[in-house]
């Protein structure tokens, strides 16, 4: 037990690390995510005693053991439900849900849907490595069609789910995407998620070095990244490419995006779509982008509303009555039996 006298504002990222040895595979993207979360916590000066990390099952779900905060490693897919109960019991706690593509979108897909639509004030961090790692490499609900795995020797034939499209479809009011290796971007995205009140959904593309290595290279590799990613900034045009000369705009007469080159074919920067975090249809278009389109990184959608548990407690506060148990038991019709 670490006994500390420093205030939260003085804490360094390492102060958010527990004394437990981290046991992910060497080279796993989870290390970078752990580092980013600890850095975000330090920069936000979050209180360790008020913070709870809740997880389900899977590689990502080991996360709480490595934080010096409160942590609850629960059952497969159910972390959103448990986190909801925690917030109902104590809305003052700062609760993170750490999940994966199998945990959050397969076995726990139903809970993910409902925690998002309810808008419970949580940071929900989904580590998407497009594979089941802890069970040794089966294809997952985000695996691309054709993924060869122990359970799909001829290649998977299922169409994958897009985590961010799912979240938006479920009614999430904060949806963001980042990459394990994009450290400053990841830290900034996590901080945005933390600042947002309500269910904040962050998909992190995370490399599984053992069972699905390099699956994101077409998006994240250094030489591919400029053309394969569009970094979203609220109020800024959707430009990308090494020279920021490519842009996204609505195809005339259609509800779909197209890639245009700024300066060519009479296209100017003014023709490029400007990112608006509060525009849900735009967020849906961006969430669905996949190669050959650039993959959207950053805050796709942020349109906050009063969190669920706050509404619950507003209703509670409005209830009349002094909690007199004797009055409850004697409510309605009673009668007296005399000796």
């Amino acid at each position: 037990m670490t006994v500390t006298t420093v205030t939260d504002a003085q804490l360094a990222p390492k102060d958010y690390a527990s004394d437990q040895e981290v046991r992910w595979c060497p080279g796993c993207g989870d290390y970078a995510i752990l580092k980013a979360v600890q850095k975000a916590c330090a920069e936000l000066a979050v209180s360790r005693e008020r913070t709870v990390f809740v997880s389900g099952i899977g590689c990502a779900a080991r996360f709480p053991y490595y934080m010096s905060t409160y942590g609850f490693h629960t059952v497969h897919g159910r972390a959103p439900a448990i986190a909801t109960g925690i917030k109902l019991a104590n809305p003052d706690l700062d609760v993170w849900v750490m999940t994966g593509d199998g945990d959050g979108l397969s076995i726990g897909g139903n809970h993910m849907l409902h925690v998002l639509r309810r808008n419970v004030d949580l940071q929900i961090i989904l580590f998407n490595n497009e594979i089941y790692g802890l069970t040794k490499g089966q294809y997952s609900p985000t695996s691309r069609r054709g993924t060869r795995s122990p359970s799909t020797p001829q290649g998977s034939i299922e169409y994958p789910v897009s985590a961010c499209s799912f979240a938006l479809g479920a009614g999430a009011r904060f949806v963001a995407r980042s990459i394990d290796t994009l450290q400053p971007h990841l830290v900034a995205t996590l901080k945005r998620a933390h600042v947002n009140k309500g269910a904040s959904f962050v998909e992190i593309l995370q490399n599984c070095v053992v069972f699905n290595d390099a699956v994101f290279d077409n998006i994240t590799a250094k030489e591919a990244a400029p053309d394969a990613q569009v970094l979203l900034e609220h109020g800024k045009p959707l430009l990308f490419g090494t020279n920021k000369d490519k842009g996204l705009r609505l195809k005339p007469g259609k509800i779909e995006l197209e890639i245009v080159t700024v300066g060519g074919n009479d296209v100017s920067t003014a023709d490029i779509l400007v990112h608006d975090e509060t525009n849900r249809p735009l967020a849906q278009l961006l969430a669905a982008l996949e190669p050959p389109f650039p993959v959207a990184m950053g805050v796709l959608y942020c349109n906050p509303a009063v969190p669920y548990e706050q509404e619950v407690h507003t209703q509670l506060a409005a209830v009349q009555g002094n909690g007199d148990l004797d009055a409850l038991l004697n409510s309605e019709r009673t009668w007296e039996v005399t000796p």
Partner: protein, 623 residues
């Protein structure tokens, strides 16, 4: 009808106890009719027990036998413990109700019918080739034939409501007549109608007119020869203030009382709609002034997860369901056991397997409660005996869950959930207190440090400085609480979890004998809602001079520590259960005694006579 010396008091005959069953279409309002009759019976000072029996369909096709809804009440001046086996008075609102229910009517009993409902269409739907009112098929009964439809229509005419609305007042006419028959007041019902139809005063007035007309029908010269008024004496019960209580109310109020007794500020109840458990969610949703937060989750799993999350955060987590839903919560119960967090789980058992018969009661989740999890996963199991006992059992569940940091399953059932009986209202000041002490001291802390007496681990609220820790479903080291795959440690932790639950036996009352003496020829051992039937049957057998005792278990895991020794002092042990033999197997396994089963799986509670006959059979064999 148990008839004492027939005395004529103001023209009324005296009855010690009466069994009435109201039966009609599920749209005929038989449940409210029965409930209101019960309310007036309670206010008249009788003891009573009720049994609502309704179909799973919300509105089954009108006039069909599977759409029949019934409500039975037994009331009287003596100790009434069951809703009664055989019916004295059957109110049958249509032919389907008559054909389904008449088999339970005593020979010589009274059946009251609405003649207008016995038309060709309804007779056909009920499977009658001929109108039973016109032949001698009901010759064994007193048949009172009234055109209730027309009498109601005439009574409500001044209020100018539609004929359909008038038809819906028929139940109040029948209620009025029955209230007259037993000399009950109508005040509570009139007040209730005014409240219920507050925004529709015309409908309220029409229903009251129908109620009054039914009452007046009995009172006036229209009274036919067989329609006699009765007097049922007041029950001799302990002085005090009383009310009616259903099992659902008992559980809800008991949970609130348990919350208060524990000093925990908040109860988080998470449920998912399921028959017959939903009523508890509805009842608790109205108790927010008492520190109750209710959460309708997306499924049974999430409900148990949210409740456990609430307990983890330091509130009292409670979840509830019926058998199929409890099955879905199983994995979360395993986590609650592994992380040693308090959790109260209410199981309103119903007939199964699978969807089974959702509105019919059974006691067939005992195995599921005691053993139904992967691995060695012990928890505490309790069962209320009566609707009033639901209150006490709920308090006890909270006590055990918080003191021992364990899930506790309470096995109620569909019968207890809806049944009602009179209840002497306790004062909060007289209820038990068991304040919870959360751990706040960091010195020497680890999350699985055990109390040497209870073996419970400390309960720490997240938010407590310097006690930050991580727990989960992975095995923990006994000495540090960290993850451990050490073989010997797992054996040690498995034993610690088992010893903790077994040790609860030191903290619960010794098993008593509900009726009879602590040794002899025959013990009848029951649990749950069969209490009343078994008790009455043993009373009858003892009145017949038989050496038989009634033992009723409220603690099913662990058993009271003297139970084995007690049972071994009887030559034979008979275990009546509404299942295919579950407690009987637990007793045989635990104590190596040749306990014998008496099972019933019809979806209906045991009748007193069924058990009394079984006792006579065994006693006869012995003699």
């Amino acid at each position: 009808m148990v008839t004492s010396a027939i005395s004529r008091r103001s023209g009324r005959e005296t009855r010690d106890s009466v069994v009435i069953r109201f039966a009609g279409d599920s749209g005929d309002g038989m449940q409210v009719t029965g409930s209101q009759f019960t309310q007036e019976t309670a206010l008249a000072g009788s003891d009573f027990a009720t049994f609502p029996d309704f179909p799973a369909e919300i509105r089954a096709p009108a006039g069909t036998t599977f759409g029949v809804s019934a409500y039975q009440i037994q009331f009287g001046g003596t100790d009434v413990m069951t809703p009664g086996d055989a019916v004295d008075v059957l109110v049958a609102m249509n032919p389907a109700a008559l054909t389904v229910e008449v088999k339970d009517l005593k020979v010589g009993g009274t059946v009251i019918v609405d003649t207008a409902a016995f038309n060709e269409r309804n007779l056909n739907k009920a499977g009658y080739a001929r109108n039973p009112l016109d032949d001698d098929s009901l010759a064994r009964y007193q048949v009172l034939k009234f055109d209730i439809t027309k009498l109601t229509a005439d009574a409500v005419k001044p209020h100018g409501i539609s004929s359909r609305e008038a038809h819906l007042c028929r139940n109040m006419w029948a209620l009025g007549l029955l209230l007259w028959m037993y000399g009950h007041e109508r005040t509570a019902t009139i007040d209730w109608l005014k409240r219920k139809y507050g925004k529709k005063p015309t409908i309220a007035a029409a229903n009251i007119a129908a109620l009054n007309a039914g009452h007046a029908f009995g009172e006036t010269a229209e009274m036919p020869e067989h329609l006699v008024g009765y007097v049922v004496p007041k029950a001799h019960v302990q002085p005090g203030r009383y009310r009616t209580i259903s099992g659902t109310e008992g559980l809800a109020w008991g949970l609130v009382a348990g919350l208060r007794a524990s000093g925990i500020g908040k109860l988080v109840f998470a449920g998912y709609p399921i028959t017959p458990a939903s009523a508890l969610l509805h009842t608790l949703a109205n108790l927010r002034a008492y520190g109750v937060v209710t959460f309708q989750a997306e499924d049974e799993i999430a409900a148990s997860g949210a409740a456990l999350g609430a307990s983890y955060a330091g509130a009292l987590g409670v979840t509830s369901s019926s058998g199929p839903g409890i099955a879905l919560k199983t994995e979360m119960l395993g986590l609650a056991i592994a992380t040693e967090l308090p959790l109260v789980v209410i199981d309103s058992q119903r007939a199964g397997p699978s969807t089974g018969m959702p509105t019919k009661a059974e006691q067939s989740d005992l195995f599921q409660a005691v053993h139904g999890r992967n691995a060695d996963a012990p928890l505490a199991v309790l069962a209320p005996a009566t609707t009033a006992d639901c209150f006490d059992i709920a308090i006890e569940a909270v006590r055990i869950a918080t003191k021992y940091m364990t899930p506790v399953i309470v096995l109620s059932d569909g019968y207890l959930a809806h049944a009602a009986e009179p209840w002497r209202i306790p004062r909060e000041a007289d209820l038990p207190r068991f304040p919870v002490a959360y751990r706040t001291d960091p010195s020497g802390f680890h999350p699985f440090l055990r109390d040497p007496e209870t073996l419970a681990r400390p309960w720490v609220k997240p938010g407590t400085p310097q006690l930050e820790h991580r727990i989960g479903g992975l095995e923990k080291d006994y000495d540090s609480g960290h993850i451990s795959y050490d073989p010997d440690n797992h054996a040690r932790m498995t034993k610690a979890r088992a010893d903790k639950i077994a040790g609860i036996a030191r903290d619960i009352p010794l098993q008593d004998v509900a009726l009879g003496v602590g040794s002899g020829k025959l013990a009848i051992v029951g649990w749950g809602s069969t209490f009343g039937s078994i008790h009455q049957a043993v009373r009858i057998a003892r009145d017949e001079g038989r050496d038989v005792a009634h033992i009723h278990l409220r603690y099913l895991n662990p058993f009271p520590r003297n139970l084995g020794d007690l049972l071994k002092r009887y030559d034979r042990v008979l275990v009546p259960e509404m299942n295919n033999g579950q407690l009987v197997k637990l007793l045989r396994a635990e104590y190596l005694i040749p306990a014998e089963p008496l099972t019933k799986v019809t979806g209906k509670p045991f009748g007193v006579t069924e058990i009394a006959q079984a006792i006579r059979k065994i006693d006869g064999e012995k003699n």
